[in-house]
Symmetry: C2
Subunit: 479 residues, 2 copies
Amino acid sequence: MAEQKKMVEAITPMDEDFAKWYTDIVKKAELMDYSSVRGCMVIEPYGYAIWENIQKDLDTRFKKTGHVNVYMPMLIPESLLQKEKDHVEGFAPEVAWVTQGGGEKLAERLCIRPTSEVLFCEHYQKVINSYRDLPKLYNQWCSVMRWEKTTRPFLRSSEFLWQEGHTMHETAEEAREETLRMLHVYADFYRESLAIPAVIGRKTEKEKFAGALETYTVEPMMHNGVALQGGTSHYFGDGFAKSFGITFTGRDNTLQHPHQTSWGVSTRMIGAIIMVHGDDNGLVLPPAIAPIQVAIVPVAQHKPGVLEKARELQAQLAETYRVKLDDSAQSPGWKFSQYEMLGVPLRLEIGPKDIEKNQCVLVRRDNREKIFVPLDRLSEAVAEGLQAVYDGMYAKALENLKAKTHYAHNHEEFLDIAKNKPGFINAMWCGDTACEEKLKEETGGVKSRCIPFEEEHISDVCVCCGKPAKHHVVWGRQY
Amino acid sequence: MAEQKKMVEAITPMDEDFAKWYTDIVKKAELMDYSSVRGCMVIEPYGYAIWENIQKDLDTRFKKTGHVNVYMPMLIPESLLQKEKDHVEGFAPEVAWVTQGGGEKLAERLCIRPTSEVLFCEHYQKVINSYRDLPKLYNQWCSVMRWEKTTRPFLRSSEFLWQEGHTMHETAEEAREETLRMLHVYADFYRESLAIPAVIGRKTEKEKFAGALETYTVEPMMHNGVALQGGTSHYFGDGFAKSFGITFTGRDNTLQHPHQTSWGVSTRMIGAIIMVHGDDNGLVLPPAIAPIQVAIVPVAQHKPGVLEKARELQAQLAETYRVKLDDSAQSPGWKFSQYEMLGVPLRLEIGPKDIEKNQCVLVRRDNREKIFVPLDRLSEAVAEGLQAVYDGMYAKALENLKAKTHYAHNHEEFLDIAKNKPGFINAMWCGDTACEEKLKEETGGVKSRCIPFEEEHISDVCVCCGKPAKHHVVWGRQY
């Protein structure tokens, strides 16, 4: 009991200190550990198991949309990085440089990839010759490195794991379609597998990816109202293709440049899961990516028949679900806290009295609802229970998103909301980067999240300068 | 037809130039491409699909034996690498050093991991406290970097993909058991999934891993008689644990050091698959890891009903197998060559005459045997066909291994075989490193592969110095 109390008490309540609550969960649930390499993390087994489930789910979605996986080198020669001007300006300041190899000083510096556009372009330049070679729909799962000044577990680290899709198309139209297709793959994944609603839309000029013509984004809101850039999809036009001399013979026999996209999501999604769904008892994991979907806790397990029955249920459920039976010597109360901490969607309790009644108890992680289940319909009840947990989690996240979404009709209102109400602010914008910069400065960090796909008419003029409005923008602070 | 001829003619026959035959296949089957980063490769979709199947298969075997996956940083501070003396001596000369990050010179150099023992030890030092925390059975899938002077696709590259298991145990006995368990997991995988027989055994002092007490190895023989170190498993004792201050409170309440293992296999396995099974028509892939297990080639596909039937068979087989229907405009002959080049285990031909007879033709890749199959037993026939391809491949590889395995009873015989007969040489050894070095020099590269688990008594004295023999050693050239 001492250990149980210690564990439960050790999480800082989220209302007291959200940042500390977050790192408490990360540490207590053993998702990651710090390392002696500044800004790099050790992803521990439970955290990595979440990532493996995310990978499997997304990889299936990528393959269904025709993509194949490849692997590119982790190093980029400086001269290659410099081939696209905007791109190198965006990334050069934050890369790590290899200058020595095999005991010798290198003739040219090599950076550890911060992203791999230039490597894909170098390869595509060699393998694309005809319109018959298009589209190229490549994806890569790997780690990348960006030399961040301040880091935070999963949300911002010098090294992180991600996937990066890089595609080449015959026409601009096809490339634009791909850009939006993959944005929707991300949005669907957030909604269907992570139970996370999000605002989706286009980034402003100021916020778009270095070298891209257009950047689209999935912007989920964390429980505290702060945004996380959850996934981005970029349309490049033929800019990189021109810089890298990538050409193909078109259907009309003319030499053309292909049109390019890239899109990526990373281990920061684990941070989103924690901050959207977690509570003061720990993680709350969406069933689709939970390493353990059902934790079986035997009650009075020393009594005859209890463990046998628990093992029988485990074997039955393990055919369909990821199940863990905890038959350790810890008390049931300790185990209850432990699997709540780990965010396991359903807890299954079974004791002598349940066995007498040929039933068990399912407890939902999201709302602690107890469901008494006749054993002969256990499989259906678990399916229903997991669906109910998903529904409950999504509804709660959507409610939070709605409750913390505000509208500002003028400058004063904008500053007032930014100061007093956490969350997103919907407000009109003239299209001028100067206004974005001014609002960010005035509010100490509120930036444009995106121009949402479904723009509303909130007012006639820009919320900052009062000039005629061009776009509805969703604004917010970000991780 | 021009294209077909060109493709087939372009592979150099293996008997003419084995090295060129190898790189021809690698390029023609589009497994990898070179990059502008010296010694680093682009793994193309078909090559990467083979790696994905290898990963899935091995990962299942690792999880069945109780292992979990984690992710460690890709960089190692110089001071951390230096903590274990033998280890740093082995690896420091071949690492790549990061000396600049985020525009600044770093206070300490960081190397890109050549292997991750020290990172795992740093983490284990923090998380291991009691015997209850043991064993730790961690594995990692990642890329590593070793600054190789001469490189060769898949076989030796500066960067390669691999898995590295790192485990910690309560007793030396448990750690030794783990070391051998994982060696056998590798040997089983080579035999069962890659259809590759291998010699397994212990490395001599000279050939073992930097910092290990014992190294065990799986040594398959390539078609030309040259060995490939196919996978290694290391027992470390508590040497690293002492260097890193890793201790735990034992069952007897004393402070103890845990006992350690590590084990790894890499993308060089793809090289082994090519060089063990390939022939002058291209790749021959073991069914378990072939990205396409059955290639359906319609004959006279413009005739009514042919494509419909081909699609019907595709849909039927796709429930169980990885199937590709090629309905492109290329000729059947071109397609036959293409899927032979790609090493697809079974080709399914279906044309108007087959449809009339309610049959199709299966052609084995390994021996081109044609099997006429009534359509109502297609699924069983494909299962049998894939098994027959596996059996044929394994038998052929075993035959090659046996045919190129020789016995040397004295020094003269050893030198004669080394000069005139490609393959492995079984011969006795006194245990002295000087004899290994002398034999290597005299033969221009024949090294000890391992002391096999099942030692034979070939002669009484060392094949080199004539002193009393201690061990039976398998010798051979290596990639």
